[in-house]
């Protein structure tokens, strides 16, 4: 203890130089609380936890000790004025804390001070040295670094002499600080005049945490607020908290920042042509939102997503706030998706819960627990807009932001569906779009007396994607995206598309027909030209024969001029033409 004290004194001398930066903190280990406290409680100083009956003071204090012992190896003392050690052990056993084991391991001493039971006769001056010796002895026995005093105000009721008690409390807190013990002092919430009923805050001025349990709209909410934290930054809002099966949970539950890792692995949405539009699928670990009006096919698209994840062998959690697991399986079977087999293989888990069953914080916690227990790599939440039945718009949005954060920090690929109120407005009532990586809007387009389903990618971070509206149809073998038909008035869907397809077919047929005609025309022309060539050749040959004859005649006439008698006596031409050769070599 002396070394602790020296340490403490060294710290305080440093504190004088840099008062704002040197506050050393002790992590409570309580889910979410350390984030609000920017690290934890002030080390070596007492903190007052103040609240009405049944708001969780004792539990918070006990968890501070148990987590300190288990997670940080810091032994702790619990001075109980209200509940016996057995009662305390039984109360926190349901939250997973085994006090007996911690006590056996020398990490915890629960000391029940029975002063509150029965009247104590007093005569003459007294002090609380007995209590101090008792605490000091326990602290020394296990080298305690943390201490809880729950609830010291019981002394006021038991010992009557308020002046002496106040004097002694002052001494106690000075002593606690000297010992360098990080302490939680619990106190009943007072009336309007003070924070605690007996003004304990006068002694414990470093850090004051208020717990509150109130009922609004027939729903109970517990809230925590850090009233003051001397010399340290802290969250100043009221934070909802709940007492879960594994202890105290203050929201926000995780310290996040924006440090999630970004995967470049693409995964399929379960619909090949949608993947193509997203240039290969969505990123692993990203958040996808499918928004759409009633009946636009959100659940079917979500089921495709879940099915695809199971096909990849990924554990998938499907949380439905509208339909039971059996309903979803039956409905998806009708469009050719067999989800049951994945469930039987333990790859898929469908959890259905009524949104109104739990408060928003409890929903978040319930999901967090499920994530821990089932450890899925893909999750479908259908639909997130159901939470609007539980909380206001801003509460719901804030809860969903935390939900998306939690999923991202765990690297879970998430698909959310959201109901939009009308066809014209594709914005959801809950503002989550800023946290969503890929947003697909499903909508019903009304034209030509029918409603047709279309899909479009509203945004998709970090990938090229088609900006075109695409019609999709739900068949008994699942969802299929159709070719986009663009008409003068935009993308054509339904019968307008079918008409366009028919027109295209006719046009094509007509084109084929026209070409055939031209081919025949040329065929005919070629034929007639050949005929003409043959005729001309025949003509030429005939002319040639005539020419030969003329030549022969000319030669005869010239010869008779020189020796008319001799030639005529021979009776035959001297150089007869060779008509057979001529006939075989026509000009070409």
């Amino acid at each position: 203890m002396t070394t602790n004290l020296e340490l403490q004194m060294n710290k305080s001398s440093k504190t004088k130089r840099l008062p704002q930066l040197e506050i050393e903190k002790v992590a409570t280990g309580v889910t979410g609380l350390d984030e609000i406290l920017n690290g934890g409680l002030p080390k070596g100083r007492p903190t007052l936890v103040c609240g009405g009956a049944g708001c969780g003071k004792t539990l918070l204090a006990m968890e501070f000790l148990c987590r300190g012992a288990v997670e940080h190896g810091e032994p702790g003392i619990f001075i109980a004025f209200e509940e016996t050690a057995e009662e305390l052990a039984a109360n926190v056993a349901s939250l997973g804390f085994d006090l007996a084991t911690l006590e056996r391991d020398g990490l915890l001493i629960v000391d029940y001070v029975a002063v509150g039971r029965g009247e104590v006769l007093q005569t003459g001056a007294f002090d609380l040295e007995g209590l101090f010796i008792r605490i000091a002895s326990s602290v020394a026995a296990i080298g305690a670094q943390r201490i809880v005093i729950d609830t010291i105000e019981v002394l006021f009721g038991a010992l009557k002499d308020a002046a002496t008690i106040r004097w002694e409390l002052d001494r106690l807190f000075v002593w606690l600080k000297e010992q360098g013990l990080t302490a939680i002092i619990t106190s009943e919430r007072g009336d309007e005049s003070g924070i605690s009923r007996n003004g304990i805050e006068e002694y414990v001025a470093d850090c004051v945490i208020l717990l509150d349990h109130r009922i609004t709209d027939e729903r109970s909410t517990r809230r925590l607020r850090v009233l003051k934290y001397r010399g340290a930054l802290h969250g100043s809002n009221e934070y909802p908290f709940l007492i879960s099966s594994s202890g105290f949970v203050v929201f926000p539950v995780t310290s996040l920042g924006l440090q999630q890792t970004a995967s470049t692995t693409r995964i399929s949405t379960g619909i090949g042509r949608l993947d193509a539009r997203l240039s290969g699928g969505v990123y692993k670990g990203s958040s996808v939102l499918i928004s759409g009006s009633a009946g636009s096919g959100k659940t079917i698209l979500a089921s495709h997503f879940a099915d695809a994840a199971c096909r990849r062998g990924e554990k998938t959690l499907y949380v439905s706030y509208e339909e039971s697991a059996a309903q979803i399986e039956r409905n998806m079977e009708s469009v050719g998706l067999d989800l049951r087999r994945w469930r039987e293989l333990d790859l898929l888990r469908i959890e259905s819960i009524r949104p109104t069953l739990l408060g928003l914080e409890s929903h978040l916690w319930w999901l967090t627990q499920l994530l821990e227990e089932f450890d899925p790599s893909t999750i479908v939440i259908d639909p997130i807009t159901s939470f609007l039945r539980v909380g206001s718009k801003s509460q719901t949005s804030s809860m969903l932001l935390r939900q998306v954060d939690i999923l991202k920090s765990k690297g879970v690929t998430a698909l959310f569906t959201a109901l939009v109120p009308s066809e014209t407005n594709e914005h959801t009532d809950v503002e989550v779009s800023s946290l969503i990586d890929t947003w697909i809007a499903a909508s019903m387009v009304e034209s030509g007396g029918e409603r047709n389903r279309t899909l479009s990618v509203v945004k998709s971070r970090g990938m090229s994607h088609s900006n075109q509206l695409t019609e999709f149809v739900i068949t008994n073998t699942g969802v299929d995206l159709l070719d986009t038909y663009v008409g003068a008035a935009g993308v054509l869907t339904g019968s307008a598309r079918i008409v366009q397809q028919a027109i295209d077919r006719v046009r094509h047929a007509q084109e084929v027909e026209g070409l055939e005609d031209r081919r025949r025309h040329f065929d005919r022309r070629t034929g007639s030209i050949e005929d003409q060539v043959i005729a001309l050749l025949a003509e030429y040959r005939a002319d040639d024969v005539d020419l030969s004859r003329v030549r022969a005649a000319v030669a005869q006439v010239v010869g008779s001029d020189e020796s008319t008698h001799f030639s005529m006596a021979n009776g035959s031409p001297s150089a007869p033409p060779t008509p057979s050769d001529d006939r075989e070599g026509p000009p070409r």
Binding site: V120, Q122, T123, G124, F126, L128, G130, R134, A141, L159
Partner: protein, 109 residues
């Protein structure tokens, strides 16, 4: 006090008949003014009321700090009547004899 009708008084009377010795334990811490006063006051009252029938055990918690928890002590000085049963406790420096006699349920002579 002649409060004979309460069951505790009866019990203590019966106990007295069996064993005449009063066993008293006084918890103190060091030689403080309060400690010394309490010891002196207790001795005086016992001599006056229980001469020869009592035994006082002084427990200095500064020497045996572990006893504070074991015997469930908060305030000092604390006087505990161990015998006759049941246990009785009085805190303070025992400045009022009347209150001590009342608290220990000693039947005045």
């Amino acid at each position: 006090m002649n409060n004979h009708d309460t069951p505790t008084s009866l019990a203590s009377q019966i106990a007295k008949q069996g064993d005449k010795t009063w066993e008293l334990r006084l918890y103190i811490s060091g030689q403080t003014v309060k400690s010394l006063k309490a010891v002196a006051n207790l001795r005086r009252i016992c001599e006056e009321q229980l001469a020869g029938e009592y035994r006082i055990e002084l427990v200095d918690l500064s020497e045996h700090p572990e006893l504070a928890r074991i015997d469930d002590i908060v305030a000092l000085p604390t006087l505990v009547r161990k015998l006759p049963p049941p246990l009785r406790r009085i805190i303070g420096d025992l400045s009022s004899s009347e209150k001590v006699i009342l608290g220990l349920e000693i039947l005045e002579k």
